[in-house]
């Protein structure tokens, strides 16, 4: 895009003739770096990445508009992330905090992760100070509420969760400049949560749903994790791992990337065990290589669940 093209004319009689340099604004915010990093480091998640790009563009344009006093209301930035376990909700939330900070919508860009336990008290009068403390910690950054639907327990009408919800709603409305709230959880349960708390739905501008990873993507994630930890698969173990994945996906409690990470942790354990039992003098490469045997020992291959006690 050449410079002349990027300067757009805004049809408004008051500021007619003012030129806006979008390229420069984009460069100043360094937003492309974060977005590229997101593309590079996170496997898959196509719809989420597209959505984040859209949000980032919207916010950048919104900021330019503000500079030219074309807007008065600050945009609502609260979001909901829905998806199955291990689909990268927390990781993306971290990046989101970074993006929002670079665009100047939050001052610090830190992420505070909270669950029901951090927000809801045990007895009367305990909830408000707890919620307030978490909210205060998150000010200037992003408050990420994991498994937000646990806040609302319709079966117990004296549950203190309602109090936390009301406080959060008030903060989301009145302190929009100070913090951004991201609610996260599994899709179906979040839907019922929003149905019973319409106040939340209307205060949330962006609903992002995280798709499950395909087996191919999971394999790519495994490769990435393994190489990050300075291990490597050989051809046989790569095959073994892909067979492992196919079996594991069909089993209950499959948690996408989290299951992959746990599997790799257990594979490392077995590899270390094998090396110690084997003893002797081995080349450096032996410490990094994952053997097919390390993977095939898993109980998943015998139709059981791969857990800590599997070895």
């Amino acid at each position: 895009m050449d410079a002349a093209k990027s300067e757009i004319r805004i049809p408004n009689s008051e500021i007619d003739g003012t030129l806006v340099n979008i390229d420069e604004a984009l460069r100043d915010s360094n937003i492309e770096d974060v977005l590229d990093e997101l593309d590079r480091e996170l496997v898959g998640l196509k719809p989420v990445k597209t959505r984040i790009r859209e949000i980032a563009s919207l916010l950048l344009v919104e900021r330019l508009r503000k500079q030219l006093s074309l807007t008065t209301e600050p945009p609502t930035l609260h979001m909901s992330f829905t998806g199955h376990p291990g689909t990268g909700k927390t990781t993306v939330a971290l990046r989101m905090a970074n993006i929002l900070q670079r665009l100047g919508y939050v001052r610090r860009g830190h992420l505070v992760v909270a669950t029901r336990d951090d927000l809801v008290g045990q007895y009367v009068g305990h909830t408000a100070p707890k919620t307030k403390e978490i909210v205060k910690k998150a000010m200037g950054g992003v408050l990420f509420i994991d498994e937000a639907y646990y806040l609302y327990r319709p079966e117990n009408e004296r549950d203190y969760g309602q109090e936390a919800i009301e406080m959060l709603l008030r903060v989301m409305e009145n302190q929009r400049d100070d913090l951004v709230v991201i609610l996260a959880g599994y899709s179906e349960r979040m839907d019922t949560f929003f149905q019973s708390n319409p106040g939340f739905r209307s205060r949330i501008a962006h609903h992002l749903s995280f798709p499950d990873y395909t087996p191919e993507e999971l394999k790519a994630i495994a490769e990435l994790m393994v190489s990050e930890q300075m291990y490597k698969f050989d051809d046989e173990s790569r095959l073994a791992f892909s067979e492992y994945l196919q079996l594991r996906i069909k089993q209950p409690h499959f948690a996408n990337a989290r299951s992959v990470r746990n599997a790799i942790d257990r594979i490392k354990l077995r590899q270390a065990n094998r090396l110690i039992r084997q003893g002797g003098i081995i080349p450096k490469e032996g410490l990094a290589r994952i053997d097919a045997a390390d993977i095939r020992q898993s109980r998943v291959f015998q139709g059981g669940l791969d857990t800590e006690s599997a070895d």
Binding site: R108, P129, E133, K136, K137, G140, G141, L179
Partner: protein
């Protein structure tokens, strides 16, 4: 008579933006911050009431500003101060303390002379405001 206690007290009262920056300075040093209030202006009064809880692990001054505003709303005619504690010395050490709110009118202090033995005099000061009981001072 303007009470001068703590840092910046000889300057004009800080604006909210200046307070926010000072609190930001405390937080950037890793100091926990708390808010205290009183209606006893005596300079030797070290027992101010604490507003809410001391605030640990904050990142941004907005949270402290939120509490200052809440305290001002509850006690518009009290002295309110912000303290920053440096915990690195192993004990709670006030590193920065400044007044962020004061009553609309400060009547000042009466000088009391007490005639003691011989021709000596003992001097002390007493605030005109403290003639009234706690909570009823500065009510106008």
């Amino acid at each position: 008579m303007k009470v001068t206690q703590g840092t910046f007290s000889f300057l004009p009262d800080l604006t909210d933006e200046e307070i926010r920056k000072q609190v930001g300075y405390c937080l950037s040093n890793g100091w926990p911050v708390n808010v205290e209030f009183t209606d006893d202006p005596h300079p030797r009064n070290s027992y101010w009431e604490m507003w809410d809880f001391p605030m640990f692990d904050l990142t941004d001054a907005a949270a402290v500003m939120f509490e200052i505003d809440a305290c001002r709303e509850a006690h518009p005619n009290h002295y309110i101060k912000v303290n920053g504690y440096d915990v690195t010395r192993g004990r709670e050490t006030v590193s920065l303390s400044f007044i962020v709110n004061r009553p609309k009118s400060e009547p000042g202090f009466r000088l009391i002379r007490q005639e003691a033995g011989g021709r000596s005099l003992n001097y002390t000061v007493q605030s005109y405001a403290t003639d009234k009981p706690e909570g009823e001072r500065y009510m106008d």
